[in-house]
Structure formats: structure tokens, C-alpha cells
């Protein structure tokens, strides 16, 4: 089985409830942030992104909030479904002009039926 994520924090949510996953980023100069979803045995999959000149962005059932004051990012998933079970992690892009990303360690989301 997939060994990545053995020591990750876990969030357990009842199906149909909303999920909130948090991420603290490291660089106050980072200008772009992405949330990824990674299912067992697969590569990371883009969920939603946000630029540093925004504090909120909404997608389909997902919302990302950015608080630059405290360097905090959150992902909200509405009406969580069993298919949402995965590891979620954030990534920050270092300041403009670079294409390097710093990735968080991730949170495992378990959806309870």
C-alpha cells in the first residue's frame, strides 16, 4: 500500500458535513498558493489556487481562504463526499520570477459514512 502519509494529521468528517483543512505557509513573499489532493497511489491533483492579492476564492464545492497577516491558508470543502477522502496539502510559490514551490506535509481527510 501507499506509505506516504503514515504520520500525517487526520481529519475525520461525517459525510455531508463541511471540512476545513488548514495550512501554515512559511514565506511572507510567496505570491501564489495551490491546494492539491492526493489519493492513495496517485500523483497530486490540482484543486484550487489563489494569488496573494486575493483573500478568498471559490470553486465547485471548495473555497480557499488566504490570511497573509498570519501566513495561513485554509481549504473548505462543502458537503463532503466519500470521494473526497485523500491527503490534502498546500503549496506556496516563492516570489515572482521563480517557479519553485514549497509543499506542506499534508492532512489526511477521512469521510465517515
Amino acid at each position: 500500500g501507499e506509505s506516504v502519509g503514515l504520520h500525517l494529521p487526520t481529519l475525520s468528517v461525517q459525510e455531508g458535513d463541511n471540512s476545513i483543512i488548514n495550512c501554515a505557509y512559511s514565506n511572507s513573499a510567496s505570491d501564489y498558493f495551490i491546494w492539491y489532493k492526493q489519493e492513495s497511489g496517485k500523483g497530486p491533483q490540482f484543486i484550487i489556487d489563489i494569488r496573494s492579492n486575493m483573500d478568498k476564492r471559490q470553486g465547485q464545492r471548495v473555497t480557499v481562504l488566504l490570511n497573509k497577516t498570519v501566513k495561513h491558508l485554509s481549504l473548505q470543502i462543502a458537503a463532503t463526499q466519500p470521494g473526497d477522502s485523500a491527503v490534502y496539502f498546500c503549496a506556496e510559490k516563492e516570489a515572482s520570477g521563480t517557479y519553485k514551490y514549497i509543499f506542506g506535509t499534508g492532512t489526511r481527510l477521512k469521510v465517515l459514512a
Partner: protein, 116 residues
């Protein structure tokens, strides 16, 4: 449109053996990256390339070499594998600007490498 593909999917090596991991993308992306993913840690950048014929070191480059002879391919080589290189390796690519997303990275499915 296959996106980012990686070969092989799994590999077991003995210490000291060499191998090459192949990454291919069909999105005409300029940037390509190699990461490793280990339990309890975020993705760590090994090497990256900002265009055909160019490569640069990332966060953890020691023990690895790369080549980008063609724009669509990015190869990761291990000359003398060590148990510390047991990991899951991901390749990614990104465009230089514009949508579908601002520098979003597209990832391959990964290669699970075990070094005994």
C-alpha cells in the same frame, strides 16, 4: 492528451545499481520538475528545468542527475543507488504563464523506488 506520464511505475534496485526514470509531458510546458515524496514530509524538489537543454539543482540534488534533451522529456538518473533514495518520485510540469492556471504544476502518477 495524456498529460504527464512516468515510467516505470515501480522498481526495486540493489545498492550501487543505476537507473533512469523517464518523465514525458504533451502539454508543451517549458518547466519540468522532479520531486521525491517521503513519509511525513512534503514534496522535495530534486532538480528542475526551465527549458530544453537547461537544468538546475533543487533542494535535494545529491545522488541524482537529470537531462532535458527534448522539451517534452525530463530524465532523472541515479548513478549509484543508495537505500536513502528509497522513495516515491514525482515528475511535474508547468507553463510559464497564463491559464489554465497561474503556473499550476501538473503531476505524473509517480514511480515507487525501493533500494535494498
Amino acid at each position: 492528451n495524456a498529460g504527464v506520464t512516468q515510467t516505470p511505475k515501480f522498481r526495486v534496485l540493489k545498492t550501487g545499481q543505476s537507473m533512469t526514470l523517464l518523465c514525458a509531458q504533451d502539454m508543451n510546458h517549458e518547466y519540468m520538475y522532479w520531486y521525491r515524496q517521503d513519509p511525513g514530509m512534503g514534496l522535495r524538489l530534486i532538480h528542475y528545468s526551465v527549458g530544453e537543454g537547461t537544468t538546475a539543482k533543487g533542494e535535494v540534488p545529491d545522488g541524482y542527475n537529470v537531462s532535458r534533451l527534448k522539451k517534452q522529456n525530463f530524465l532523472l538518473g541515479l548513478e549509484s543507488a543508495a537505500p536513502s533514495q528509497t522513495s516515491v518520485y514525482f515528475c511535474a510540469s508547468s507553463a510559464t504563464s497564463g491559464r489554465p492556471a497561474y503556473n499550476e504544476q501538473f503531476f505524473g502518477p509517480g514511480t515507487r523506488l525501493t533500494v535494498l
